[in-house]
Symmetry: C2
Subunit: 313 residues, 2 copies
Amino acid sequence: MKKYGFGVDIGGTTCKLGLFETTGTLLEKWEITTDTKDNGKNILSDIAKSLDEKMKEQIIPKEDIEGIGIGLPGPVRRDGVVPVCVNLGWKNVNVAREMEELMGGIKVKAANDANVAALGEMWQGGGRGCKSLVMVTLGTGVGCGIIIDGEIVPGSNGAGGEIGHITVNHHETVPCNCGRKGCLEQYASATGIVRIAREHLAKGHESSLLDEIGEISAKAVFDVYKDGDETAAAIVEEFAYVLGNALSNLACVLDPEVFVIGGGVSKAGKPLLDAVEKHYRKAAFSSCDSIRFALASLGNDAGMYGCVRLILE
Amino acid sequence: MKKYGFGVDIGGTTCKLGLFETTGTLLEKWEITTDTKDNGKNILSDIAKSLDEKMKEQIIPKEDIEGIGIGLPGPVRRDGVVPVCVNLGWKNVNVAREMEELMGGIKVKAANDANVAALGEMWQGGGRGCKSLVMVTLGTGVGCGIIIDGEIVPGSNGAGGEIGHITVNHHETVPCNCGRKGCLEQYASATGIVRIAREHLAKGHESSLLDEIGEISAKAVFDVYKDGDETAAAIVEEFAYVLGNALSNLACVLDPEVFVIGGGVSKAGKPLLDAVEKHYRKAAFSSCDSIRFALASLGNDAGMYGCVRLILE
């Protein structure tokens, strides 16, 4: 194993780059802007230039680089081809091969960003020590990365871990962004929590949430929940019931060692984890009683960590 | 690769044994009784004796045997140990090692029976040509084996693929065998179909099912369904709705290439498959539209095939 590796987490606005020791230590991280113009044709060369500069600056010869891992917001086929990535403007881009050419033959691997984040949390985060893990990312939507026996489960159409679109309520009348109705992310995302909160407030329930000026946010719900607000408790209970039950169903399919909860909403911390785990324990199939719950611990760096882990296989 | 392999599917009553060419041809199959007395201590030696006899009879030297694959009705750990198998009376049996010793060092691998059946259907059955597959077995209960990238997903507690215990109805009042309420197998198994049928008949709906003397069976429901019976159509619709929707949720998790439907109920054939697939297509997340449905084609031999596939890895 060579001494260094690069993790590159490409987002629609910025690319996060990290220089790691292959033992798992993040030495330095920085960002560059994602240039999506002309169907994102400059993205990879911009990254290559930035990595080259870093190697010169740190006086690291190519021979000391184990490889470059790349995460991106779309499906990546096993052969390293991205069939389509709306956020980057890409169509049929062979990320791994193009980047290898740009970097003079350094090994490159690419995968979906939700999946590399899960791999990162397995390697150095909340799922450390585990080989099978489901990472659930509670943000604007509900993302998920599945790792079985140390390997990402990307799915045959790149839809592995699209648990945000599991139908949890067949009686829902409001459509999800995907066009269907009753998807998990209509309840268990930041957006979903705000929606549940609005419904509770519309019923005239009293809450210090009403004191918040302007927007209601998932963060505000958890903040006043921690202060003992009863309406917030009912909102959190509804959110946690839906998510805990969905994860109990997921356990009957994958039976992972641990559920790692991440994303912006998870900043609410242990009270959130406890609420979800309570409903999971109530609903879980007996064989899956021992599955653990953990908070993600790498934050926005999880993807970069996972990218590096990807090249160590 | 050596020329021959043995597949051994151990059940609570009989063990199915098969002599295969490692190219995938079943040359000969036979059965022996499973001797469960004294905590099943004779099971493996009985099998070893029977395999030895077959090798002598067919004049096959040990050197021509690639290995022996074993399927059994319980969880098998990665190290080949069966922590507990109620149907065989086993506790902490290292199947692989004990069998290797009994067979003079021939390579042995063991796995759960539902999982080897899925592997068998992937290798030579309804999922031929695929590397990722979910096999759903509709029998007394709902069994399932998951294969991702050619590998079984056993789960960290042996509960991988326990989809029969996914909760599909939070309003169910009748308990499942597992003690929880609203499990998939309360609707989508042979038992579940009979239960749905009884509910429909109790409402006084007319049906030629009423002409059946004695017991109503899932087979009878599908027989009269094919003859255009309206009540049977309503029963099948209810069954297919529940299963099709459950599989659409499973697709958002695993995104396999194909769902293979097997087990006794699947003998109803294409009309059953069509009914389930119709509800799947209605409910499926768009990225999972292309997932195929297929009938299992190896029947009770699927386990033996999968056992042989297991040793080819």
